[in-house]
């Protein structure tokens, strides 16, 4: 420990999060990614309030139009405004991405902390993780969609049923990387002095985890959160694209892409917008994760 009494701080003391923000700002790609992601999220959720057309409004006389001032992205085969449908689709896609990410993150962190903290649970839980990693994810997701679509739709309504099904299916098939990373970090944290100190004053396991371990594994969890959003959005779009996602009249970006592919020969430009939206969102989230990883790593920070 260095003697800190006689060295006056030249700059005012900064909290950890200010440091993180400074490092994050230095990563231009991450900053841009974060801004683009926020713009997309706001555009998709606030846009429909400002835009005059409804996503389900059918105007058969103005069908199959190209881009114009009234319809900047054109209209589809039923005359529905593509911009409005893109915004409605984005709401679903991003909502699915965020909820599925939260579920996967919760599961993954729980398994990771349990396996890393309790030695007895480590073996069984990690074997379970390995088994889940060996599952063929996409075929299994397709099978799950096929099996539970009808029962859930009739139980809680078509849209909500599919939403729950997709979120749960993606969540329980993508928690494994988070669990592995968190477990590794928890295991190395457990050997540190502050954990020993906390234990010596009689901290219970529950307090130990919630007050000492969890705040310290927050950074890998945040990084895998960004990757989780990207993964969930891509998976949902893939399912919708294969025709096993949301019902046809319910727009999501993957669904719009699937619809556009059917008109590929006549209106090839329609593929562009939903594809661009998916790619841009995922790209910005990936850059965001890249920057967060650098910013939250104290070894890189300050360089």
């Amino acid at each position: 420990m260095t003697d800190t009494t006689n060295t006056e701080p030249t700059t005012p003391e900064r909290s950890q999060w200010v440091d993180v923000w400074h490092q994050f700002k230095a990563h231009k790609g991450a900053l841009l990614g974060g801004i683009i992601f926020i713009v997309i999220v706001f555009g998709v959720f606030i846009g429909p309030w400002l835009w005059p057309y409804d996503a389900t409004y059918i105007d058969i006389r103005s069908r199959n139009q190209g881009p114009s001032l009234a319809h900047p992205f054109g209209t589809d085969q039923l005359g529905r405004d593509t911009l409005a449908r893109m915004m409605a689709g984005g709401q679903t896609s991003i909502a699915v991405g965020l909820t599925a990410m939260l579920l996967a993150l919760g599961l993954g962190s729980f398994v990771g902390i349990m396996a890393g903290y309790f030695k007895k649970l480590d073996g069984p839980l990690m074997r379970l993780t390995d088994l889940f990693l060996a599952l063929p994810i996409l075929p299994l997701l397709l099978v799950m969609m096929m099996l539970f679509r009808e029962p859930l739709s009739s139980a809680v309504g078509p849209e909500r049923g599919i939403f729950i099904l997709i979120v749960v299916a993606i969540g329980i098939t993508s928690w494994m990387p988070t669990a592995r990373i968190v477990r590794g970090d928890v295991m190395s944290l457990k050997e540190r002095e502050f954990v020993l100190a906390a234990r010596s004053i009689g901290t219970s396991n529950k307090n130990m985890i919630t007050r000492h371990i969890l705040p310290n594994v927050l950074s890998p969890i945040m990084v895998s959160a960004t990757l989780g959003i990207a993964n969930a959005i891509i998976t949902e779009s893939a399912l919708s694209f294969l025709g096993l996602g949301f019902p046809p009249d319910f727009p999501t970006w993957g669904r719009l892409l699937n619809d556009a592919v059917q008109y590929l020969q006549d209106y090839p430009e329609r593929v562009f917008w939903p594809g661009l939206a998916i790619s841009l969102t995922v790209l910005s989230v990936n850059y965001l994760g890249d920057g967060l990883r650098d910013a939250l790593d104290p070894r890189i920070r300050g360089r």
């Binding site: 390995d130 088994l131 060996a134 599952l135 063929p136 994810i137 996409l138 075929p139 299994l140 397709l142 099978v143 799950m144 096929m146 099996l147 539970f148 009808e150 029962p151 990207a230 891509i234 779009s237 893939a238 694209f241 294969l242 025709g243 096993l244 993957g254 892409l257 556009a260 592919v261 590929l264 020969q265 090839p268 430009e269 593929v271 562009f272 939903p274 594809g275 661009l276 998916i278 790619s279 995922v282 790209l283 990936n286 850059y287």
Partner: protein, 335 residues
Amino acid sequence: MLTFTIRRLILAIPTLLFISLVIFLLLELAPGDPMAQVPLTVPPEVKEKMRLALGLGEPGYIRFYKWLVQFFWVEPQVLFDHMFGTTFSEGKLRIISWQTRSPVMDVVVERLPQTLWVVGMSYIVGILIALPIGIYSAYKQYSIFDQAGTFITMIGYSIPPFFTGPLIIVIFSVNLGWFPFIYDTTHEVVDWESFVKQLRQMIMPVMVLALQTTAQISRYMRASMLDNLNQDYVRTARAKGLSERVVVMVHVLRNSMIPVVTVIALGLPAIFGGAIITEQVFSVNGIGAQLIGAIQANDLPTVQTLTFMFAFLIVFFNLIADVLYGILDPRIRYD
């Protein structure tokens, strides 16, 4: 090394059993009934016999056991018979598709070459592009080439194949008219002209799949090269006067390839998963398309067999990756 391999092999068996059980139990919950299409005029006792003939109506664990026997014992025998003209499998019940009423494996064997051609080709192309990019961008770290490479791999990660697919169809088929956008699976290569045609129809699906492979593997290659370039042995090699080419391409590359080779092995099953989507985009008649068709037709034996085959591929390539790592890096052999 042998004990290490054998131990990994033995560990793979319970994994496979667990996965087949998960798939089986999942399909047990299926609401579909294969007898739904049978006319109502058929008397119930005949229907019951038809159910039994399809292998239904027995308790779940017996059907699971029978499926295991069929997959691991009867089907290999059929393959053996086919190759050597023996008659081990005569009279034994094979896995029958509800959709076509023919053995599932016959359809798989018909369709596997299409998938293997496209997937295998794209993987090889992807690796061949990825390795030089990874090596060069690590050697010239933070150069313009490296920055551009990072950006392109980020794009490769982020743009899903179901967007790149339609995009390059629009560009190369609709606008430029260079390549056909429907894959003709009945096409046979007999002479030079038909070979060129085959090549032309394969280029686009291969490009789409190779983009993903390239993105992942060049990232790993770069990271692994960077780890090694700052090591002491590299300085030693330079100090004793070896040429820069030998230092990088022999000393560093050989050591950097260790993790990359295992990543290559691990990534192969994921590529099969990606092929499901790519096959759908380009109408390639492979096993991915078969799986989608079977799911839509509620053909449970086919779905079960194909899903398990995907799982088998994953476990198998994990095993290969482990063993390769053990061979390449002696420190890993903890036996």
